[in-house]
């Protein structure tokens, strides 16, 4: 954004001021995440940068909190990680299947009451989590599913489907329906058409919806707080308990791992988005 040579001085100043503001906002957005990194390698127990760290003294850094995370006594992170992955994977599968099928129906131009049904399907994303949590808890308690993996997975399917519905309908909006008609005219049955023609074309949308559903489940704490028993503890629950009681560097080690995970997911999601836009023929 180089300024043209003829720019007047006051606009020049304004322009630099604007760049300065933007830099500050970007800093505000991203910097907090980078505080966690170095502190998780702290050799000491305090959550401040020690003098040794400021001097970049190698002795001030250690992996002890990572060791504690993995090998620590009465350590909850192993069980929590296992649970988190099991719940998130099944919840993602459920959300993706239900959400994709529903999105197919919603993008049909024959769909009756489209507006109100769409609003209903999206509502779990809009309704405050605390209310969803209370409502789902009442349901699961009645159904005898409180404090079970099944209950939490079902709850996370509820919370995850809106994302799948949104991303898949967005992908389908640029979908050329003549290809499915061509398949049908060549004698393919609807299921075969979907598997061989539609699904490969909308796959980027489906996967990115799935990523949203996965992250929603993996990061969800409010509903799980109501539903989970001791056996169903998840990473967010452990983080929440840890943050409430005492902020220990072990939590920062876990947080660092989570940041790495979210970076991977971000990269995947970005690649998928670009691919999907290329397929839909949106040139950027």
């Amino acid at each position: 954004m180089a300024l043209p040579k003829y720019t007047e001085a006051r606009y020049r100043i304004w322009h630099y001021f604007y760049i300065f503001i933007c830099t500050c906002v970007f800093f505000f957005l991203i910097a907090p995440l980078f505080v966690i990194f170095p502190l998780s390698f702290n050799a000491e127990e305090f959550l401040v940068f020690s003098d040794g760290m400021k001097r970049l003294d190698p002795d001030a850094f250690s992996l002890r909190w990572y060791k504690d995370m993995i090998y620590g006594t009465k350590n909850p992170w192993g069980l929590a990680t296992k649970n988190s992955f099991i719940i998130a994977i099944f919840a993602t599968l459920g959300s993706v299947i239900l959400g994709t099928v529903a999105a197919l129906g919603l993008s049909s131009r024959h769909m009756p009451y489209k507006g109100i049904i769409m609003a209903t399907l999206i509502s779990p994303m809009i309704v405050p989590l605390i209310i969803s949590g209370v409502a789902i808890f009442f349901f699961m308690a009645k159904a005898g599913l409180a404090a079970t993996h099944t209950g939490i997975i079902l709850a996370h399917i509820v919370l995850g489907t809106p994302f799948v519905v949104i991303t898949v309908t967005a992908t389908l909006s640029g979908f050329d329906h003549s290809v499915t008609r061509a398949a049908s005219s060549l004698g393919s049955d609807p299921v075969n058409t979907f598997m061989k023609i539609t699904l490969p074309l909308i796959l980027p949308g489906v996967i990115s919806g799935g990523l949203f559903a996965f992250v929603t489940s993996f990061d969800e704490v409010v509903v799980v707080l109501f539903l989970a028993g001791l056996e169903n503890t998840t990473i967010p629950i452990q983080m929440w308990t840890g943050l409430r009681e005492q902020l220990s560097p072990t939590i920062l080690a876990v947080a660092t791992c989570l940041i790495v995970l979210s970076t991977l997911i971000l990269v995947t999601a970005e690649l998928l988005r670009r691919r999907s836009e290329r397929i839909r023929g949106i040139s950027r």
């Binding site: 933007c22 906002v25 919603l106 009756p112 509502s123 409502a135 967010p236 902020l247 920062l252």
Partner: protein
């Protein structure tokens, strides 16, 4: 006659209109069947339970179920003087059963809500009851404590008789129905909920404003920079967006603590004295700062997607027609971004108004919101009907905003990432 001849027939001999309608109906059913599994699933596990909350919030059968005989006996009592012997006897039988089942504590809590002082006299009654002789319960109970001889307490029990109550909604507004059936406000020092509602609105509003003020310039920068730079900067927006909420809250807890980096920085530039570091966490400041950063991506993304569609030549045209850059911006660019502003602001407001985790961790006592109160009643006091009532009040507010959002933006226009 002429009508029939004009009708076009399909090869099967069916009028085209009928055939078309049939085909369209078939398509409609097909489309609906695809949506049906998810819709049904959501109705059972989500929409229906929210309806159940409504039922719970007005449901008041707990005390009625605990004291069935008492209420039956009370039907004949006019509530003017002390109730007759039958009521005392029925109450004794009901309460004895509760003591045996060890559920009398719940009754004590419930009745104490209605009138202070029930807890102690119920406990005392429980102790003395073991030595009660049959018959003449009225005198025996009244002898336990002088409050049992006070008609006010019996009236309080009677007031709990109806199965349906809107008392929880009144309580959420810091009001109550007094003995005469008038709705009045609770005493000044006990008005906690109204403060919370107002604070929730205030925080949601200001967080939206802060997010808007910060997101607008960077969304503009992202939309106008060449692709290779803006893609790089976009990561700054998307990485926090994809990062766990708890991780981001944790990083604010580290930054804002009294020995934290933000305070270190303030001391270093001389803004505050080293021995007088301000408390930036466990109060409203903490809630504001953390929530603004966490919700900022939700404002940037809709703004960006709208700004991306605005052609830069429009601004150039404005300038070439003699407008200063400011005029061109204000008259041309800004009005075109209003759809994005609406979408972003409503989204952030909706998310902020129901925020729970961040205020609970960094908000302390003065920075918690209505969601925290709901969670408190769900988990600590176990007053689920009160939690439901507050939840539904919050939900109504959110749904109004959601409705506006749907009218202005359309839910199918929500863009993610």
């Amino acid at each position: 006659m002429s009508n029939e001849t004009k009708q076009i027939l399909t090869t099967d001999g069916i009028p085209l209109e009928v055939s078309l309608k049939k085909a369209e109906k078939k398509n409609k059913i097909k489309a609906f069947l695809l949506v049906a599994p998810l819709l049904l699933f959501l109705i059972i596990t989500y929409i229906f339970p929210i309806g159940d909350m409504l039922f719970r919030s007005v449901d008041d059968r707990m005390v009625t179920n605990m004291l069935p005989k008492t209420y039956k006996a009370m039907e004949k009592w006019d509530g003017k003087d002390l109730p007759p012997e039958e009521v005392f006897e029925a109450f004794y039988i009901d309460y004895k059963l509760l003591v045996e089942q060890k559920t009398f504590g719940k009754l004590a809590t419930q009745l104490n809500y209605e009138k202070n002082g029930f807890k102690s006299i119920l406990k005392k009654l429980k102790r003395k009851m073991k030595k009660f002789e049959n018959e003449n319960y009225k005198e025996q109970i009244m002898a336990v404590h002088k409050r049992w001889a006070n008609v006010e307490y019996w009236r309080a029990i009677k007031r709990r008789a109806p199965d349906i109550t809107y008392a929880k909604y009144l309580k959420a507004m810091d009001m109550f129905e007094n003995e005469d059936g008038n709705i009045s406000q609770v005493s000044e020092d006990r008005r906690v909920h109204r403060v919370l509602w107002l604070r929730t609105l205030e925080v949601a509003f200001f967080v939206t404003v802060f997010c808007f003020l910060m997101a607008y310039p960077i969304a503009h920068l992202l939309a106008t920079l060449p692709m290779k730079y803006s893609n790089l900067l976009m990561i700054c927006v998307l990485l926090p967006f994809w990062t766990s909420l708890l991780v981001r809250t944790a990083s604010w807890m580290i930054l804002l603590q009294q020995q934290g980096i933000v305070n270190d920085f303030f001391v270093w530039i001389g803004l505050v004295a080293n021995d007088n570091r301000p408390e930036m966490m466990y109060n409203k400041t903490g809630t504001y700062v953390a929530m603004t950063q966490i919700l900022l991506p939700f404002m940037v993304l809709p703004l960006y997607s709208v700004m991306k569609t605005i052609s830069p030549s429009l601004m150039r045209a404005g300038k070439s027609l003699g407008g200063t850059p400011f005029v061109a911006f204000w008259k041309i660019y800004f009005p075109l971004t209003i759809p994005g502003i609406g979408a972003g602001c409503l989204l952030v407001f909706i998310l902020a108004i129901g925020y729970y985790i961040t205020p609970a961790l960094v908000g302390g006592a003065s920075g918690t919101l209505i969601s925290n109160q709901i969670a408190f009643h769900m988990k600590s006091t176990l007053d689920w009907s009160f939690a439901s009532a507050m939840g539904l009040m919050l939900l109504t507010g959110v749904l109004v905003v959601y409705w506006v959002y749907n009218k202005l933006v359309g839910v199918d226009n929500i863009k993610l990432g």
